[in-house]
């Protein structure tokens, strides 16, 4: 069973994504901020990470950078809102594999993940 780590500071978003993923037999783990994301990545080595890049504190971008430094093959999907083109560009340069824009539906999320696996 593939494992996916969902990183977002809003519990609502984490849970909506989790619900979408669990119905497809993914094992889901959650992280609330960039620091937790990096730690949990090192411990649990998920197959894919969804990362909100508008979190406060250690930004999602930094977390992407650190995770990719730790594991150059890490597969990270950026989750963000419209109007953040430059951040997405930065994220991709830091190693993110793809991105989805809020609001997204289950199909879009699964498409992106399946293409990565």
């Amino acid at each position: 069973m593939k494992r996916i780590m969902v990183v977002d500071d809003a519990e609502f978003m984490r849970t909506s994504i989790k619900i979408m993923l669990e119905s497809e037999q993914f094992d889901v783990l959650e992280a609330e901020d960039g620091n937790e994301a990096v730690e949990k990545y090192k411990e649990a080595r998920p197959d894919v990470v969804t990362m909100d890049i508008t979190m406060p504190g250690k930004t999602g971008l930094e977390a992407i950078k650190e995770i990719r430094e730790f594991d150059p093959n890490a597969k990270i999907i950026v989750v963000t809102a419209m109007g953040t083109e430059f951040m997405i560009r930065d994220a991709i340069q830091l190693g993110a594999s793809n991105f989805i824009i809020k609001p997204f539906d289950e199909e879009q999320l699964l498409e992106v993940i399946k293409k990565l696996l």
Binding site: F12, M13, T15, S16, K58, T59, E85, R89, I101, L116
Partner: protein, 781 residues
């Protein structure tokens, strides 16, 4: 309701999270209005609106999403712009209006309905205010935007370079090095197609060289997005990777459609280059030549970079010197397509090599400087955010685990039963005559642990009153404006914690009392001045723990309660039981709790709408509490609500009436005894009474009161229990007393009517159910 059925279980969480965020937002905005300083709360307010926007979009609640979006924009501007004088009152009003809209929507959602429609006029108002700010600071806004663009442009410029660095080192066999063209579209609705294209190219960098694409500007150029939507995206490159690897990569591109990957022959590749570069086609014989011509064109690019960087001073953010970009001719943008062949100077192989040798150093150097600047900006921002997060931790935004209420209730039930069963073990009749020293020690230790467990579990349901008090704050603020009285409102003890149940029930009674105070209690500013008081009236709302109770008091320095008016009104309603003079002040105030007793003739918007103090009293009683009024005419009034903290378990005395068992709180019992027939007197109205030590007390037959058939009807066969409450005494007549027992109090279900004299029920150790007698109700019968 959201169309996506998967999102319905999310509704509860959405409601919960939104309510939390909105409460916090309200707190922040009102604090900032009072302190006249938005800078502290701005970041958090921005984030809150951002989160609500995201969540609402997922749930497809357009109204809330649109409203939070424009508010987010406003605060985004406020937090970034300098020299802006925010109009605090206007901003607070706008935000509070927004909060109200969201609150109502959420309430409707909670009740199973739909959220409100889009608040067009409010959104328009916020937009207009934001526009007015940006207009006044248009220069600054332009500069911010310009700087943003410049940074992006610069890093975009150097993007091509790394590819060229690779070019030098690859040295493969000719037949493995092939040209390819890839053409595809993105599926409709995938959004930001230009950035998607960027990520496709970026992800492929390591596998290919000389990557060219149409359109060539994809990140900065917003037109690129539309172009790609209409025409698709084209990539031309060289690669030594296996064909299957290349196919695999492009097949893994998400949202891609009509993907075509074509391996090119030399001629085809030539042609293609011309197309992509816009240069004339020259015939090439070998791939290397093709490669060289590509190097040539891109060398020009690098030469151009070099020349511009050498001539212009590098950007110095502290002195604000013009960045390089400003002097570059926009026409000669550094992209492959716009290089004109006639601009190109012929470059010798040697020069090419020199440039290529130096390139790796120069470009990265500049790149490094640029990155360093960006890092610094990011660090500053991150540091600000970190201190914000730290501050948040200690203020309203704390870490919680959310646990379902049923689980907590179950936990409380079990702990309650544990306490009861503990006492059943330790007070077991089997042990009465036995001396067990070690056992006693163990029992004491056991008791201590269980008590601690009970305390902690009770505290799980305890929450601070701060949110409730915040609501009051809001109420006073709104009411002050509407009734035109200037009032000082002080909150004390808002961290005081009470059971969640209390929090839910205490809000309405408190609001009513405070409304009363503002409406009837505090005089208008003029009247106050005339009578020599400070023109601003004051209301203090205070909460504190005392003994095992919570005291919540509302004190004002208004005109006080006029006992004469009340007595007169009571008289006209026929409520007087004795002479007016015989009533104590306390008793007079109690009249206010009678239903329909409002001495104010008009029904104002805020009070006197039939939600009288009687309802307040009932709500307080339902919590097991009491409410006391105190007042001094001309000076002010005080409403004090006392709520016991530990409701769940009481020490009770069990008594039987035929097969039914009743439990009476031990604290209400004065004494019990069996009476002789002749001690019982019957008064002229047929009430039974008993004379004890010179005083006459009424007898209340429990079997009569509760309609239970029993054999035991004569007084000397049964037992009399002297019960007292608030100075009144009654003698309860039951069949027999069964003994002391700790019981867990459970409320009667709501569909059972409230019975006067019964305050709940309890589960006994042997599984039987007993009713708990309410002394207050009984002694007043």
């Amino acid at each position: 309701m959201p169309d996506n059925p998967k999102l319905e279980p999310m509704l509860e969480m959405y409601v919960y999270e939104t309510i939390q965020l909105i409460d916090r937002l309200e707190q922040l905005i009102m604090d900032s209005e009072v302190s006249g300083d938005l800078s502290e709360g701005m970041e958090e307010i921005f984030r809150i609106m951002h989160t609500i926007k995201g969540n609402s979009m997922m749930m497809m609640f357009e109204g809330i999403a649109g409203l939070s979006h424009i508010t987010e924009d406003l605060f985004d501007y406020l937090r970034k712009a300098e020299n802006v004088e925010p109009d605090y009152e206007r901003i607070t009003d706008l935000v509070l209006d927004g909060i109200d809209h969201i609150k109502i929507s959420v309430q409707q959602l909670e009740a199973g309905g739909e959220p409100l429609g889009k608040p067009e006029s409010l959104i328009q108002e916020i937009k207009e205010y934001l526009d007015s700010l940006t207009f006044m600071n248009s220069d600054q806004a332009k500069t911010i935007q310009k700087e943003k663009d410049q940074i992006e442009q610069k890093s975009q410029k150097y993007y091509i370079a790394p590819d060229k660095g690779d070019e030098k080192t690859t040295h493969k066999e000719p037949d493995e090095d092939r040209g390819y063209e890839v053409v595809f579209r993105f599926s409709a609705g995938s959004e930001m197609e230009n950035i998607r294209a960027f990520s496709v190219v970026h992800g492929f960098k390591e596998k290919a060289t000389d990557i060219l694409h149409i359109p060539s500007e994809i990140v900065e150029d917003e037109g690129a997005m539309e172009y790609i939507q209409i025409n698709g995206f084209q990539i031309l490159f060289r690669s030594t990777e296996k064909e299957e690897t290349i196919h695999e990569y492009f097949n893994s591109v998400a949202f891609a459609e009509n993907m075509k990957v074509k391996k090119l022959s030399f001629d085809e590749y030539n042609e293609a280059i011309a197309r992509y570069l816009g240069t004339d086609v020259e015939a090439f014989d070998t791939v290397e030549e093709i490669g060289e011509s590509v190097i040539d064109s891109t060398t020009e690019v690098q030469g151009f970079i070099e020349s511009t960087t050498e001539e212009q001073p590098f950007i110095d953010s502290t002195t604000g010197e013009q960045p390089i970009v400003e002097t570059a001719d926009p026409e000669t943008e550094l992209t492959a397509t716009s290089i004109e062949s006639d601009v190109v100077e012929s470059v010798t192989q040697e020069e090419t090599e020199i440039v290529l040798n130096d390139m790796p150093e120069i470009v990265p150097e500049i790149n490094d400087e640029l990155i360093a600047l960006e890092e610094k900006a990011k660090k500053d921002k991150a540091q600000r955010e970190q201190t914000k997060a730290a501050a948040d931790k200690s203020s309203g935004a704390q870490n919680y685990i959310s646990v379902g209420i049923p689980k907590v209730d179950k936990l409380m039930d079990l702990v309650g039963e544990l306490v009861v069963s503990e006492s059943m073990v330790t007070r077991n009749p089997d042990l009465t005559d036995v001396q067990l020293e070690n056992f006693d020690k163990a029992v004491r230790q056991h008791r201590i642990i269980i008590n601690e467990l009970q305390d902690i579990v009770m505290s799980i349901r305890m929450m601070p009153l701060s949110m409730t008090f915040q609501k009051m704050n809001r109420l006073v603020r709104d009411m002050k404006k509407k009734v035109g009285k200037d009032i000082d409102f002080e909150l004390r003890g808002k961290e005081t914690e009470v059971d969640k149940n209390v929090i839910e029930q205490i809000g309405d009674p408190l609001m009513h009392i405070i409304r009363n105070s503002i409406d009837h209690g505090i005089e208008s500013n003029d009247v106050r001045e005339l009578s020599g008081k400070k023109s601003r009236g004051k209301i203090i709302l205070e909460a504190k723990h005392s003994g095992g109770d919570v005291w919540i008091t509302v004190k004002d320095n208004g005109k006080g309660i006029n006992t004469e008016h009340i007595l007169n009104k009571a008289e006209s309603k026929g409520l007087l039981m004795k002479q007016k003079e015989e009533y104590t002040d306390r008793e007079v105030y109690n009249f206010l709790f009678h239903s329909g007793f409002s001495t104010k003739e008009q029904v104002t918007e805020f009070s006197g709408r039939g939600v009288g103090l009687d309802v307040v009293a009932r709500n307080v009683e339902a919590l097991g509490g009491t409410i006391i009024i105190d007042s001094e005419l001309g000076k002010g009034s005080e409403f004090a609500i006392r709520i016991p903290l530990t409701l769940a378990i009481i020490d009770g005395m069990m008594m039987s009436v035929n097969k039914s068992i009743f439990v009476l709180p031990i604290t209400a019992i004065k004494e019990s005894f069996s009476a002789k027939e002749h001690d019982v007197i019957v008064d002229p109205e047929g009430h039974e009474m008993c004379m004890i030590r010179g005083e006459c007390y009424p007898i209340l037959r429990l079997h009569d009161r509760f309609g239970i058939k029993t054999e035991c009807k004569t007084i000397n066969d049964g037992i009399l229990i002297m019960t007292e409450y608030d100075g009144n005494v009654a003698l309860l007549f039951a069949d027999a007393i069964l003994g002391e027992q700790q019981v867990v109090v459970k409320n009667l279900s709501s569909f059972l009517q409230k019975v006067e004299g019964i305050s709940g029920c309890a589960l006994l150790g042997d599984g039987r159910i007993s009713l708990i007698l309410d002394p207050a109700g009984l002694v007043n019968m």
